[in-house]
Symmetry: C2
Subunit: 188 residues, 2 copies
Amino acid sequence: MRPDVHIALVHHPVLNKTGEIVATAVTNLDIHDNARSARTYGVASYHIVTPLDAQVELVSRILGHWRDGFGARRVPNRVDAMNLVCVSRTLEDAIAAIADGAGRRPFVVATAARRLPGSVTYAAMRDRMGREPGPFLIVFGTGYGLADSIVASADALLEPIGDPSDWNHLSVRAATAITLDRLLGERG
Amino acid sequence: MRPDVHIALVHHPVLNKTGEIVATAVTNLDIHDNARSARTYGVASYHIVTPLDAQVELVSRILGHWRDGFGARRVPNRVDAMNLVCVSRTLEDAIAAIADGAGRRPFVVATAARRLPGSVTYAAMRDRMGREPGPFLIVFGTGYGLADSIVASADALLEPIGDPSDWNHLSVRAATAITLDRLLGERG
C-alpha cells in the first residue's frame, strides 16, 4: 500500500540570495513539472503556497486551462496531473486542508539544499513512510530555500540531495523529482 | 572515481503525439535545469541536439547571457553549470565530439518512457558505470520520446522510470534528474 503523501511548493516565506525573507513568483513550469512528478509517484495532492492575490489568480487561470480548457483537450493526460494541484495562502492552510481530508494532521517534512543540524536520511524517511499510514507532507522552497521558521516548525528535515560542500544548486523541479523517487520510487 | 558520463537532449529526430518524426523547439528551462542537474552529479558535458539554425543561434545567445553576460553576474554559480552545455546538430556530432575528447567512442545509452524489449535496469547500468571507465552518453528525448532509429542504434536502453502501465508522463527535466540520481547519486 502506498503511503498518503502530499507535497507543497512554498513561495513565501523563502530566502533570497542575501538571506532575506521574500515572496517569489509562481512559475508555470513549477506547476506542471511537479504535478507530473506527483502524479507519477502517487502523491495525493500538490499545494502551491503563495500569499499574493495576483499569484493565486494566475495559478487558478493556469489550472482552468489545463483542467477544462484548451490545454485539457490538447494534452488529456495532463488533466490527471493538474487535478492534484491546490493553491494555499500559507503552509498552515495547506496543512489544515490535508488534516481536514485525512482526519489527522500531516507529518511535515522540510527540505533544504544546505546542511542543517538534525536532518534525517532518505532511507530513514522511506522506511517511516512504509511503516506509518501518514499523511505526510513534504515541503519544498523556491528562491534560495525555505525560511528558518518553516524548517524549525517541521516535524523532520531531509538531508540535502547533493554534496553541500560541492556545487549544489539543483532546480526545485529536479529536487522534487529526485526526492519523490528516493522516497516513493520502486526499488528493483 | 566518478565515471566519465555525458548527457544529450535530442530535439530531432523525436516523436510527436501521433508518432510522427518531428523537430521540437529548445526550451530555456531544459537548458538550465539539465545543466544544473548535470553539474550536481559530475556529468562532463551536456549536448543540446537540434538541426535548426535558428535554434542553434538561440541556444548560443542563452549560453552567452549566462556565461559572460548579465546572467553570469547576477547568478555566478550558474556559470559552472552552463559551461557544460554544447550544441550539436545531430546526435552523431555529439558522439563524435565526446569521442574526440576521450579518444574512444562513448557507450550510448538511450532512454524511453515506454516499455521496449531489451532494456537494462538502472542497477545494472550503475554497476557498469562503476566498473568501466567510459565515456558513457545518456540520451534523452523531448516531445513524445526518441525516434526508433536512435533507440535502435544505441548500445543500451534504460528501463522506464515509472510504471508504463500506469500514468507515466514525467517532464524530461524530471526524468533527467531522476536518471542521474539513480545512476550516479551517492548511496547512503
